[in-house]
């Protein structure tokens, strides 16, 4: 698997200044950039006018104060122009919301449960068929966990995977998903409120006890996408990362089959343990 390289910018990079396009079909990046440029242009006009005023109309240059203090025409102008800009932005944003809310046509369902302070992933359904007992906990991997202890004196820079410094952004067992597949996530909270956030997916969704939230993604390229819990959830809120490993479909099918087989073996063993009467006596 080529996991670095082309998709490296999907994860936080040193001195990164801006949001990235991410790795999924749905992305807020376009909306963000439009809004950013609208703000920059308005800022240049308004602050420009201010600085011209501060330069031209200073007492030390002999400026004499004028008497006017009202202009209905001007006030109408700077009420109407912002309204027009806002309507344009609202139209764009409404489109983004509508497409985000549409979880129909998904080919896969994964249930995500937030716990203090780890995540659980359960594969519920894939290609219209229920998945049998594939689910696991996913928590901060050990070297980060050791390094993040108070006064551990361990170097966070030393923790690397494929040349990427993964301190606090790596787990013991990542969520494996197929690329090019519309995946529906059902997100719930097991104890307190958490929020499942992988920046490369372009959204976060709160994991709330008693409420099943849904969201979707369709990843374009294989890669490892890293994120974190985004809702304060207690002392180790900063230490429950998320890793999504996107693999080609065929590879995913194989992975899922292996997991299902393992689950069967495990289940058989558990049944045998639970009913010792039927187990062969030694």
């Amino acid at each position: 698997m080529a996991l670095s390289g082309g998709v490296a910018m999907a994860n936080p990079e040193p001195d990164q200044l801006n949001m990235t396009k991410g790795a999924a079909e749905w992305s807020p990046y376009g909306m963000h950039m439009v809004a950013l440029w609208v703000c920059v242009v308005i800022g240049i006009v308004v602050f420009g006018a201010m600085f011209v005023a501060m330069f031209r109309f200073r007492k030390s240059r002999g400026a004499v104060a004028e008497k006017w203090s009202h202009s209905t025409k001007l006030e109408i102008v700077w009420t109407v122009i912002p309204v027009i800009i806002l309507i344009f932005l609202a139209k764009l944003a409404t489109g983004g919301l509508t497409s985000f809310a549409d979880t129909t046509g998904s080919e896969m369902t994964i249930k995500v449960t937030g716990y203090q302070w780890k995540w659980r992933y359960d594969y519920v359904e894939y290609k219209g068929k229920p998945v049998d007992r594939v689910g696991f906990m996913s928590k901060l991997e050990e070297s980060s966990d050791r390094t993040r202890q108070l006064k551990s004196n361990l170097d966070p820079d030393k923790i690397q995977v494929d040349g990427y410094k993964t301190y606090l952004l790596d787990v013991d067992k990542p969520l494996v998903v197929p690329v090019g597949t519309k995946i529906r996530f059902i997100i719930v909270g097991g104890d307190v409120i958490h929020s499942w956030w992988v920046p490369a997916l372009g959204w976060k969704m709160d994991a709330i006890p008693g409420i099943a939230n849904s969201a979707w993604t369709k990843l374009k390229e294989p890669g490892v996408y890293r994120g974190q819990c985004a809702e304060l959830c207690g002392q180790d809120h900063g230490f429950m990362p998320i890793v999504v490993k996107a693999v080609p479909k065929a590879e995913f099918d194989q992975w899922l089959a292996t997991q299902q087989d393992e689950a069967k073996v495990q289940q058989a063993a558990q049944t045998a343990q639970a009913n010792p009467a039927t187990a062969p006596q030694g």
Binding site: P12, L36, K59, L89, A93, P209, H237
Partner: protein, 538 residues
């Protein structure tokens, strides 16, 4: 003008009571109570600032060097509670106490004994709140928003809830007093639409306070009963709903953020005309814009909750309503710029802080507009982008306006001019450091750093270090402020004129500096030309 009465220094009723206890603890004088509020809020500003220094020190570089994660969470929670309820809000109330009677020609606040009570509740409320830090189990660590179920895991919730109740009672009494004063005690001729914008902004803010503080009290009371009396308002396992709390909290919380900025709008609208020597542009539009923002503040609360999984219809409604706020806010910014245009400007410290306010608050407004766009907020929400946004509107917005007000009215309060050189040093040091502190946080948020985390990936290291350096620098700069104020009050030899600023208009500048203990025993005769907004018809 009726200055004869206020200039009468032989009248013993015009002197403050002699005993310290009688003067300060039993005070019913609006000026003394205003001073108490201002001293209290400055104290809280430094305590909340100390918490911020702990936060920035821990975030100086990756890895945990100083504090345990739980204590870090206590610091973020207490920093917010102390700054919001202890520093920003009481300082605006202090300014209101001092200035509203002087600005409308009233002898005192309408309800002076209640005024005393609303101040003296505050030290007890904050003793309770800050005391939790020294108790077994520690202080609140679930964030200032106190979202359940997390907040219910803390052992200090009862103390916090009681402290919030006390602060709420204090705020409501303060608000009643301000409304009663403005509506009943204006001097003849001080029509509503001739009042200073600062007075207007406080009239509207006071109504917001009365409307929402009981809502907060209700929300935290439900937390208390969920924790100790086995109710299930917010407990999903008992049929409750954790999201209900967020709706109630933010129904308080959004008007609350305008409670912290509308008086700032008022202050800036007084200072810019003074130093531009030109009346404020579009007085009526300025007042109407404040009222519109106040109204809109009640119908935008769920924009704090775009990521809780609201139905799409709700997201669209709250997004549109939030975006609408940009219109009246834009009017205010454009009108401030127009007030400057064609003026005859000088740049004393209050004006410098006001100009910085207009620019930096607008930057906070821009990020606010971006956050209003729900699809983009799915990415921005709960990141450092949000942290940068609300610190631009609260520090370079609300706090800068308070500093501007302090420099502007210190001569009137103390009777002395502050040291202009040191005031300017304080300004430049603050304005540069505050941007070093908060601007890089936009980048951190966009790159993917969540807020309220005690440690982070090494990719975020450089900007966090820059931000921390800015933080220590900004914190140290405020010691200059303390020094300038102390010097002005106790040591300055430079007497202030009654009209301390050349272009200053309004009744507060017709009384002596320092303002005598009692002013306007006889209502002043008002000449429209002497008011800042006396001639609003043209």
């Amino acid at each position: 003008m009726a200055n004869a009465a206020t200039h009468d220094h032989h009248d013993h009723a015009h002197h403050a009571p002699q005993g310290f206890f009688q003067r300060w603890v039993m005070s019913t004088n609006h000026k003394d109570i205003g001073t108490l509020y201002l001293i209290f809020s400055l104290t809280m500003f430094f305590i909340g600032g100390a918490f911020a220094m702990v936060i920035r020190a821990e975030l100086f570089k990756p890895g945990m060097q100083l504090v345990q994660p739980y204590f870090f969470n206590e610091m973020t929670t207490m920093h917010a509670l102390v700054m919001i309820f202890g520093a920003i809000m009481p300082s605006f109330v202090g300014l209101a106490n001092w200035m509203i009677p002087l600005m409308v020609g009233a002898p005192d606040m309408a309800l002076p004994r209640m005024n005393n009570l609303s101040f003296w509740i505050m030290p007890f409320a904050f003793t309770l709140l800050l005391g939790t830090l020294f108790m077994p189990g520690g202080g609140p660590a679930g964030g200032w928003t106190m979202y359940p179920p997390l907040s219910l895991q803390g052992e200090s919730i009862a103390y916090v809830v009681f402290a919030v109740h006390l602060m709420g009672i204090s705020s409501i009494m303060g608000a009643i007093n301000i409304i009663a004063t403005i509506l009943n005690m204006r001097a003849p001729g001080m029509d509503l639409l001739k009042m200073p914008v600062f007075v207007w902004s406080w009239l509207i803010t006071a109504f917001l306070l009365i409307a929402v503080m009981p809502v907060l009290a209700g929300a935290v009371t439900m937390l208390l009963t969920d924790k100790y009396f086995h109710t299930n308002f917010f407990n999903a396992a008992g049929g409750g709903d954790p999201v209900l709390y967020q709706h109630i909290f933010w129904f308080f919380g959004h008007p609350e953020v305008y409670i912290m900025i509308l008086p700032a709008f008022g202050i800036i609208s007084e200072i810019i005309p003074t130093f531009a020597r030109k009346p404020i542009f579009g007085y009526r539009a300025m007042v109407f814009a404040i009222a519109s923002i106040a109204f809109l503040s009640f119908i935008v609360w769920a924009h704090h909750m775009f990521a809780v999984g609201l139905p799409m219809g709700a997201e669209i409604f709250f997004m549109y309503a939030t975006m609408l706020i940009a219109v009246p806010t834009g009017v205010k910014v454009f009108n401030w710029v127009s007030t400057m245009w064609g003026g005859s400007m000088t740049f004393e410290t209050p004006m410098l802080f006001s100009i910085a306010f207009v620019i930096l608050f607008t930057i906070g407004g821009f990020s606010g507009l971006m956050l209003a766009l729900a699809p983009a907020d799915f990415q921005y929400h709960d990141t450092y982008f949000v942290v940068a946004h609300f610190h631009y509107v609260l520090v370079t917005g609300a706090a800068f306006s308070i500093m501007a007000a302090a420099y502007y009215w210190l001569p009137k309060w103390s009777g002395h001019m502050y040291n202009e050189t040191w005031g300017k040093i304080h300004f430049w040091s603050s304005v540069i450091s505050v941007n070093v502190l908060f601007f890089p946080q936009h980048f951190l948020g966009l790159a993917g750093m969540p807020r309220r985390i005690p440690d982070y990936n090494v990719a975020f290291a450089n900007f966090n270090m820059i931000s921390s350096i800015g933080g220590f620098w900004f914190g140290a700069s405020q010691l200059i402020f303390l020094g300038v104020v102390v010097h002005c009050v106790f040591f300055s030899k430079k007497k202030a004129a009654d009209r301390s600023w050349e272009g200053a208009k309004g009744l507060e500048w017709t009384v002596p500096s320092p303002a005598p203990h009692h002013t306007f025993d006889v209502p002043p005769v008002i000449h429209d030309d002497e008011l800042a907004h006396g001639n609003t018809d043209h």
